[in-house]
């Protein structure tokens, strides 16, 4: 009896054990993956470790751009219990249009899409309100938001980022790889109350490298304030200022007007012109400031000295098919130094004739024209210098006074640095430090002899002294050298030079031991002499240079009384107009692209979408492998970059459609 019971008991225990074993095999072998996944879903939380985009600082460590954490809301429309109620709740909390949100959710649901952003970059209060709802289908994701605490300050230098925090312009684009961080992931084991017990790093977060620029925010602010005021006062179209250290090439300020606030997204249909950095991307004919290069070449390649007589032919010079006039009264035979001080076109042409085409071309290249400076900014223009084979009969005359050549404000600053630092061509640089590492400086290249540079400095001082064209640029307590420039603007529609000018001033201070180079350009000034560089740009130079010398703590090299002798309002008239070739069929260098672009015919260029329908634009872009950002509806009216502009990797073409 007992044995029988024991047998039964043993059998039951065996069966029980077998059942347990079977269940164990099922749990741990057969359905291991499934149950592991379920356990993980209940016990583990995957958190994203933030890797903020690297901040951008000015040279004194002031933040110009930084990223902060923000939150975004998304839903899986397929898992939302009631789309109507959901859109009602979300619209109420997030202050979005209920009907629009419902439509989007319905559309996503119908097309079987399991992901929909409801609102990105929400306010902390909105996120808190959503959390208190404790609705499972509302998902909140932490994202990074780029912020520019100084608003529009240095906007063209900094650029901007898109929603994915990828740089779209400026330093943000040029140094995108360094600035961009790599977010990490960690799996956190949680208890029933969702408190973390242990965490395991799945992917380490790699924060973006902070970048320190050579820009000084105080100088940048003054440069932007002054150029904006000058553009408005003189009813110009745009303007730019570059302040540079002539020895290191550090760009201390780079202002461009009109400007924009990188914190705000572009409005649909607005002009994209204000997003252009005029200092590096928009070349122009420099006019008389280019005479510095002509005279430097003359000092190096001819026997001409500052006191050498130059015949200005009474202000009129006849060339084959063209007559050149000096904008001021007829000058006779004057020393070469006065040619620069008075900005005589005919004198410059006479000097240029002595230099010769080949030397002139060589020195233009030595001063860095017709080639990119290599600054760490996208869309830099190389300007244009015709190859010698394309020079016409009057090209040498034109180039000598700053025509048939196109330059950028930055290139002019680079050229002025050659004179300021004793003859070395330094590459402008915008990045001081990359993380904790100092950015490498490119070794300078000798462009002209030191004695030539010193002579040029002395001659440039004559420009701001009484009788010169740039007396409004004089500084209190400092010696200054400079050159004014006023070039007529070519109208591509009528193919004529207009009575609008590019007024510019290129200055060095203090002249005895140069610490800064400042170049100011105003595009589209009017009113004859009132729009010339000596009137519109020289006063901007004075204010910006004064502030720069104060900030840099540069000791004065003149007694205060010395510089106060000639008040600005009593200064000489600024006769510095580069007389344009006014023939209707006259070619213009700005009609053609940059030199460096011309040298690379394989580089893709922006097609002309204007006048096309959206469907046609998209089809053509797709065929050419281009990314188009369409805006509006109807016919393509405006596009950026302009048709024919060179396209770089990752460039997108914005097209504005209108009916």
């Amino acid at each position: 009896m007992v044995e029988r019971r024991l047998t039964w008991l043993a059998a039951i225990v065996l069966l029980w054990g077998a059942a347990i074993l079977q269940k164990l095999v099922s749990l741990q072998v057969l359905h291991h993956q499934e149950y592991s996944r379920m356990a993980r879903a209940r016990q583990e939380v995957v958190i994203e470790l933030p890797a903020p985009r690297g901040a951008i600082f000015d040279r004194s460590g002031q933040p110009l751009a930084m990223s902060v954490q923000t939150e975004s809301v998304y839903v899986n429309p397929l898992k939302v219990p009631d789309l109507g109620v959901a859109s009602e709740i979300l619209a109420l909390v997030l202050h979005v249009d209920r009907a629009g949100l419902y439509e989007k959710m319905r559309e996503a649901y119908d097309s079987d899409r399991g992901f929909l952003w409801v609102k990105r970059k929400i306010a902390p209060e909105e996120a808190e309100s959503l959390r208190t709802l404790r609705l499972e289908w509302i998902k909140i994701q932490t994202e990074s938001l780029r912020h520019y605490p100084k608003g529009s300050l240095a906007a063209h230098v900094l650029g901007a980022v898109n929603f994915e925090e990828r740089g779209t312009a400026g330093v943000e684009k040029a140094l995108d790889n360094e600035l961009r961080g790599q977010p990490g992931q960690a799996r956190v084991l949680t208890d029933v109350k969702r408190r973390g017990i242990d965490s395991q790093l799945s992917a380490e977060a790699r924060a973006g490298t902070p970048v320190t620029l050579t820009i000084d925010e105080r100088l940048q602010f003054v440069a932007e304030r002054e150029i904006a005021a000058a553009v408005k006062t003189h009813h110009a179209v745009s303007g730019s200022v570059v302040v540079m250290n002539p020895y290191s090439g550090d760009v201390l300020a780079m202002a461009s007007f009109p400007d924009y606030d990188p914190n705000a997204s572009p409005e649909p249909g607005e002009s994209l012109a204000r997003y252009q950095n005029h200092a590096v991307s928009v070349p122009f004919e420099p006019g008389s400031v280019f005479k510095v290069i002509t005279l430097s070449a003359a000092l190096e390649t001819t026997s001409l000295r500052p006191e050498s007589p130059i015949n200005c032919h009474g202000g009129v010079l006849r060339l084959p098919g063209r007559t050149i006039h000096d904008s001021h009264g007829g000058l006779g035979v004057i020393p070469m130094a006065i040619v620069l001080a008075k900005s005589s076109n005919i004198g410059a042409i006479q000097v240029g004739m002595r230099v010769g085409q080949e030397n002139m071309y060589q020195y233009m290249r030595r001063f860095g024209f017709g080639q990119r400076t290599g600054i760490q900014l996208p869309a830099e223009s190389a300007g244009k210098v015709y190859k010698l084979s394309r020079w016409g009969t009057t090209s040498l005359a034109s180039v000598s006074m700053g025509q048939e050549v196109s330059v950028t404000t930055l290139q002019l600053a680079q050229a002025a640095s050659v004179v300021a630092n004793g003859g070395m061509l330094v590459r402008p640089r915008l990045v001081l430090k990359n993380g904790n590492q100092a950015a490498p400086e490119q070794p300078p290249v000798r462009a002209i002899k030191p004695e030539t540079a010193i002579t040029m400095r002395q001659m440039m001082e004559g420009v701001v002294l009484p009788g010169g064209s740039g007396t409004r640029a004089r500084l209190a307590g400092y010696t200054v050298g400079g050159k004014t420039g006023s070039a007529q603007i070519f109208d591509f529609a009528t193919r004529h030079y207009t009575h609008s000018y590019n007024g510019s001033f290129m200055g060095i201070a203090p002249l005895t031991n140069p610490r800064i180079v400042v170049v100011v350009t105003l595009n589209g000034t009017h009113g004859g002499e009132a729009g010339f560089g000596g009137v519109v740009a020289a006063p901007v130079f004075r204010v910006v240079a004064t502030e720069a010398l104060r900030v840099l703590d540069v000791p004065k090299d003149l007694p205060e009384t010395e510089s106060a002798k000639i008040p600005a309002e009593k200064s000489e008239p600024a006769y510095d107009l580069a007389d344009a070739d006014t023939r209707p069929d006259a070619p213009n260098i700005l009609e053609e692209g940059d030199d460096e672009n011309a040298a690379d015919p394989a580089q893709p260029r922006a097609p002309n979408f204007q006048g096309m329908t959206m469907r046609a634009v998209l089809a053509e872009a797709s065929a050419k492998g281009l990314t188009v950002l369409p805006n509006g509806s109807g016919i393509a009216r405006i596009q950026y970059p302009a048709p024919g502009s060179p396209l770089h990797d990752g460039d997108r073409i914005r097209v504005q459609f209108k009916r």
């Binding site: 933040p63 930084m66 990223s67 608003g151 300050l153 602010f221 104060r550």
Partner: protein
């Protein structure tokens, strides 16, 4: 005194029926009882009463062996508890430390984000445009170049005076 069967009305189970027609019915023959089966309660021969038991005469004799065994058992149990405690202590400690660690990590992330927000605020407050506006409102002017003299000869230092 009511008997238990009366109390529970368990007349059938005992093979005895008090109902009037019980005699007319055939008496159910009970099968042979299993020796292990508990006997059914009888109907009337159980009486409950209090019996006084005096155990005062019983004296427990000292048993040193049993006492020793008892202490040994207590000792063994204590050792077992100590061993188990020491075995589980690191695990429990790790779990508790894990809680603290994760809480601190979360706090660190939160503080870093907060710090970035404060840096941003500070940068906005130190914006040159804002400072310029404040200076104008308070009739402050920029000192001219050379007017500021750094007392320690270091231009980076904050100690400076304005030269009249």
């Amino acid at each position: 005194m009511a008997t238990m069967p009366t109390f529970f009305r368990r007349t059938v189970g005992a093979g005895y029926d008090v109902r009037p027609d019980a005699a007319a019915r055939p008496v159910r023959v009970q099968p042979e009882r299993d020796p292990f089966q508990l006997r059914a309660l009888p109907n009337d021969d159980i009486f409950f009463y209090c019996k006084k038991i005096d155990n005062s005469r019983l004296v427990r004799e000292a048993d040193p062996q049993a006492r020793g065994a008892c202490w040994r058992a207590i000792g063994a149990a204590c050792v077992l508890v100590a061993m188990l405690t020491s075995a589980f202590f690191p695990t429990v400690g790790t779990t508790l430390a894990g809680y603290r660690l994760e809480a601190l990590r979360a706090e660190e992330r939160h503080l870093l984000a907060e710090g970035r927000g404060l840096d941003l605020q500070e940068a906005e407050l130190l914006s040159p445009a804002r400072l310029d506006k404040l200076a104008r409102e308070n009739n402050l002017v920029t000192p001219s170049s050379g007017q500021v003299v750094h007392l320690d000869g270091n231009s980076d230092g904050a100690v400076a005076m304005v030269q009249e």
